[in-house]
């Protein structure tokens, strides 16, 4: 859960004070401008309480390069082993697993599952529930992870359509690796799909990913059938 910071505490104090004054005003004067003033301040206070306050720093270029090289190795392993299929992001507890291949995997702790000449590989996503700090809204969580924590994008535009999540990362800090886009998804795709899986509690898959020097657009599709479809 998100810890209560000073900012949220100040908001809570405004909320409690204005709610008390609103009750008092209603008792003494009924519905009127004075009550409206306290209600307005109550709205502001609640808004402050619900605003997440971020602590911590963004990753350095050095740390990002290390992560990207590790990511590229995943793509190389998938391509080298000749595994076909698409990546499905599945949550298990606080973790997200990226299952890549055509075979249904019932035990996510296994790295590889082979059946009838077909292979599926299971990777652990670098994003887990712990990184979301209790955020439940997928768009807020994507921005929190990508902009505030990892610092891999300047800003994020996001639309949540229930079964689909559209995310556009502006001013990307790292150029997506093409080999990754073809396999598990770029670091942007991995962040968007992992967050979608964690916040919605359903399997997710990257339906579309496109990038240039200024933006990286990702479309994530969410639904139970994605995982059943792999069986």
């Amino acid at each position: 859960m998100l810890r209560l910071q000073y900012y949220n505490g100040f908001g809570l104090a405004i909320s409690v004070a204005s709610a008390t004054l609103a009750a008092l005003s209603y008792t003494l004067f009924g519905l009127g401008p004075l009550l409206a003033l306290w209600v307005g301040l109550l709205v502001v206070g609640v808004s402050m309480v619900l605003t997440p306050v971020v602590e911590g720093s963004k990753l350095s270029d050095y740390a990002l390069a290390v992560i990207l090289n590790t990511f590229e190795n995943v793509a190389r392993a998938i391509e080298g082993l000749g595994v076909r299929g698409r990546a499905v992001y599945v949550s298990s507890g606080d973790w997200v697993y990226i299952v890549f291949g055509e075979v249904y995997v019932d035990d996510l702790s296994r790295f590889a599952v082979a059946k009838g000449g077909r292979v599926s590989l299971v990777f652990k996503s670098p994003i887990s529930a712990e990184h979301l700090e209790g955020l439940k809204d997928p768009c807020a969580a994507v921005e929190y992870v990508a902009v505030d924590k990892l610092g891999i994008a300047g800003s994020v535009e996001c639309v949540d359509r229930g079964d689909r999540l559209y995310v556009r990362f502006s001013r990307p800090k790292v150029y997506p690796v093409k080999s990754l886009e073809r396999t598990v998804g770029s670091i942007y795709g991995v962040v968007a799909a992992s967050v979608a899986t964690l916040t919605k509690g359903l399997p997710a898959s990257i339906a579309y990913e496109s990038s240039d020097e200024r933006t990286c657009a990702v479309e994530v599709v969410v639904g139970e059938e994605l995982w059943r479809g792999a069986s």
Partner: protein
Amino acid sequence: MERSFVANTVLALLVTLTASSLWALGEGRFDVYVSLYTLEYLVVKAVLRPKRVCRDYPAVALLAVFIYFIARRILEVLMA
């Protein structure tokens, strides 16, 4: 992150400005104030897109209250 703080500050300014302006104009109807708060909150939400730790419950609550006041006004007109 900064955007969320800006959104809260803008909202606080708008609410204060609304309350003081309507008060100065002699407006005494509570529903007028709340309707304007709702409008301001939703505009700030749409333009600045502040982040929330959960669903945006204040927006839902304000919209529900706004719909209640509108429904009451419509009923008043129909009953008159």
